[in-house]
């Protein structure tokens, strides 16, 4: 049909089936030797268009009316995340990546900081690369609250028209930024692990895993501004500190209507065992059912203590109530990307691998030599984690002098 986003030109299709094979979404079938695209499954990703040697598949061009004046949108923005008045490390990762993008575009890097009595923190953001800090300071912004945070950021975006807005793919970040993106009619790409500027179009190329990391997709926002992304923890390198840098602080005027909220926080409770936030940890020691019983988590806790690491767990260990849910790594838990992941007695179901296989170095200790965890391990050990971990802990003590 004329208005379909993607069409097969029947006269050109020779029925070679290459597109059927290329489609990641199983959306193409052959009918009477002509490709038919099932639009209810198709995501218009263009894989078939690239594969077709006969130019028989076409993607409809967007209407001109939706295009906006890109030149008006300037600057790469990083939404700083703060907790209790302290800047969270994800912010420095975003500033590190944002600096590169801003330099490629020849634009300013700006940080956006919301909080209460938080003006003293702006220099930290400047030292990490921000040219400007937009500061929203009010008692109502002391801690994250969906509505006032969203309203303030929406107003800033409307007033200052940034080109790119980056935010951490954290619980706070994802809750907040979706509201902002819908309100300002912007494109938003979740949980990016790669960002770059397309040298030709100057669009932001946003690469992210999908289907639990089985495929990667590169996404652009061609006709809307700002281009918005949330960025996965620990993937980007933190910006270095340069205390001598100077920058401008712009205090944003806040009217009362921006600060109202229909929801109210009644209390906050810190989790006792969450001494290290597992999404932020450089090292994670993780245990599964192979540890046999909950008390044996002490063994990996000891190693984690020596390494100043976080403690992770497989779904099986969490479902057996050995460890709280907040420690679960994997598809129904958290996605982590530490420098070092030590999997102890974890077999490595695909859902677990989806949550940790982007770790830089992976050590797997498991008794079953056929365990799938070994397929992603940098170092694999077939053996009993309970026997090996205490010895490894002792060796690590020697190395680190702890």
């Amino acid at each position: 049909m004329a208005n379909d986003p993607i069409t097969v030109i029947e006269e050109k299709c020779v029925g070679c089936k290459q597109c059927v094979k290329a489609c990641p979404f199983d959306a193409i079938e052959m009918q009477d030797r002509v490709a038919r695209i099932d639009l209810t499954k198709c995501t218009v990703c263009g894989s078939c268009v690239e594969t077709c040697k006969f130019d028989a598949i076409e993607i409809a061009q967007r209407e001109e009316s939706s295009k906006i004046d890109h030149a008006r949108f300037k600057g790469v923005w990083v939404l700083a995340e703060q907790f209790d008045g302290h800047i969270e490390s994800i912010t420095y990762e975003l500033l590190g990546e944002g600096r590169k993008l801003a330099d490629d575009l020849g634009m300013e890097l700006c940080a956006v900081l919301l909080g209460s009595d938080i003006g003293g923190r702006t220099q930290e953001l400047i030292a990490r690369g921000a040219d400007k800090v937009y500061l929203a300071d009010a008692p109502e912004l002391a801690y994250f609250s969906d509505e006032p945070y969203a309203k303030v950021i929406i107003k800033m975006i409307k007033d200052y028209a940034p080109n790119i807005v980056l935010c951490g793919a954290t619980t706070v970040g994802r809750s907040l930024i979706s509201r902002v993106a819908v309100s300002v009619n912007a494109g938003l790409t979740a949980d990016c692990t790669g960002l770059a500027i397309d040298p030709e179009t100057r669009n932001l190329l946003q690469t992210r895993p999908a289907f639990g990391g089985n495929i990667m997709a590169t996404i652009v926002t061609p006709d809307h501004r700002p281009q918005m992304s949330t960025v996965r923890h620990k993937v980007m390198k933190e910006a270095e500190v340069d205390a001598s840098r100077t920058g401008e602080v712009i205090k944003v005027e806040l009217t009362a209507d921006l600060l109202t909220s229909r929801t109210r926080r009644l209390r906050y409770v810190a989790e006792e065992t969450a001494t290290v936030n597992i999404a932020e940890a450089n090292i994670l020691v993780s245990g599964g059912r192979g540890l046999q019983k909950p008390e044996n988590f002490e063994v990996i806790a000891e190693l984690a203590k020596v390494l100043k690491a976080g403690i992770g767990a497989s779904r099986a260990a969490v479902d057996s109530n050995w460890v709280p849910y907040s420690h679960q790594v994997g598809q129904t838990g958290k996605t982590v990307c530490p420098k070092l992941y030590i999997a102890c007695g974890i077999s490595g179901q695909i859902q677990h691998l989806a949550g940790m296989s982007s770790a830089e170095t992976i050590v797997a200790i498991n008794r079953d030599p056929d365990a799938p965890i070994f397929s992603v391990a940098t170092y694999g050990i077939v053996g009993d984690a309970l026997e090996i971990i205490p010895k490894l802990t002792a060796e690590c003590r020697k190395i680190l002098g702890r």
Binding site: M1, P5, I6, F25, D26, T40, K41, V44, C45, G46, S66, D146, T171, V172, R174, S175, R179, A181, V182, G187, L188, A190, L205, F211, G212, N214, I215, A217, T218, I219, V220, T263, R264, R267, Y268, E271, N282, I283, K308, Y325, S326, Q331, T332, L340, A354, I362, F374, S375, T378, Y379, G380, I381, D384, I388, K391, L392, A394, E395, C396, L400
Partner: protein, 264 residues
């Protein structure tokens, strides 16, 4: 009270494999399931009805086959299913999806609480729940791990954060997105299965929900996928062998630089 749970049919990741020749996902014979997180949302909606009375509606946007997901929800105890399906929705990103769902919710009209799983297992965005809340101008509580108090006009729920949790109070109607910790989804009962078989699924098109064609499908989607590829496989690992003492020594030696760097 009317509890509406928004669900998505996704491929079962247990079955997803990569075809090594073409480097694409092999979807043949892959079973479709209800997004695992949505199971917790369905369960919580049913529990809210048990607590407060009313009805639970399951709402999905998807291909005609997604009807199966709605029947599965009905088998668990949901009262009715609504399928929003139209070729005009093809190519929808999270902006267009949340717009489409919000138009369907406007047509439903009398919702008290709208529930979502925290994210879908195929896209992993976590953007549609807050997106719907924004389109409908509703308050939201995301990552809910427990409903503490609820009555006809307000709810208090615990939101899971990276370092703990916070207790949030919201007036109704509102949007909740839930995490696994919130409950243990029930299995379908025999009575439920029979109801699911007989149930009449309500089907709405783009015209039925009064969707603005400019905001649907590819037209309404600011983002566009330009490339899909298989991540390079991890390099073959090194197996470390020997007696436990020896293994620990060798492994510590290999990790030495990482440990020192991470500790600094």
């Amino acid at each position: 009270m009317h509890f509406v749970v928004c669900i998505k049919q996704v491929p079962d990741t247990h079955d997803v494999r990569i075809n090594p020749e073409t480097n694409t996902l092999m979807r043949e014979g892959v079973e479709s399931i209800i997004n695992p997180f949505d199971m917790y949302a369905i369960e919580e909606a049913i529990r809210l009805r048990e607590r407060l009375g009313g009805t639970v509606t399951a709402l999905t946007m998807g291909p005609p086959q997604a009807e199966a997901a709605l029947r599965e929800a009905i088998a668990m105890g949901v009262n009715q299913g609504i399928l929003v399906s139209d070729r005009a929705f093809a190519g929808s990103d999270t902006w267009a999806t949340s717009y489409t769902l919000s138009k369907a919710l406007e047509k439903i009209g009398d919702y008290s609480i709208i529930l979502f799983g925290k994210q879908a297992s195929d896209g992993d965005t976590a953007q549609v729940g807050p997106g719907v809340a924004t389109h409908l101008d509703l308050p939201q509580i995301t990552y809910v791990r427990k409903v503490e108090e609820v009555d006809a006009s307000r709810i208090v729920a615990e939101r899971l954060l990276e370092t703990g949790f916070e207790s949030i109070e919201s007036p109704l109607p509102c949007v909740l997105t839930v995490v696994k910790e919130i409950n243990e989804p029930r299995l379908p009962s025999l009575k439920g299965k029979m109801a699911a078989r007989k149930a009449e699924i309500v089907k709405w098109t783009a015209a039925d929900i009064g969707g603005d064609p400019e905001k649907l499908g590819l037209n309404g989607s600011p983002t566009k996928v330009v490339k899909i590829f298989t991540p390079p496989p991890r390099e073959g690992g090194e197996m470390i062998e020997g007696e436990p003492d020896e293994i620990a020594r060798k492994l510590a030696g290999k990790l030495k630089d990482i440990l020192i760097e991470a500790a600094s």
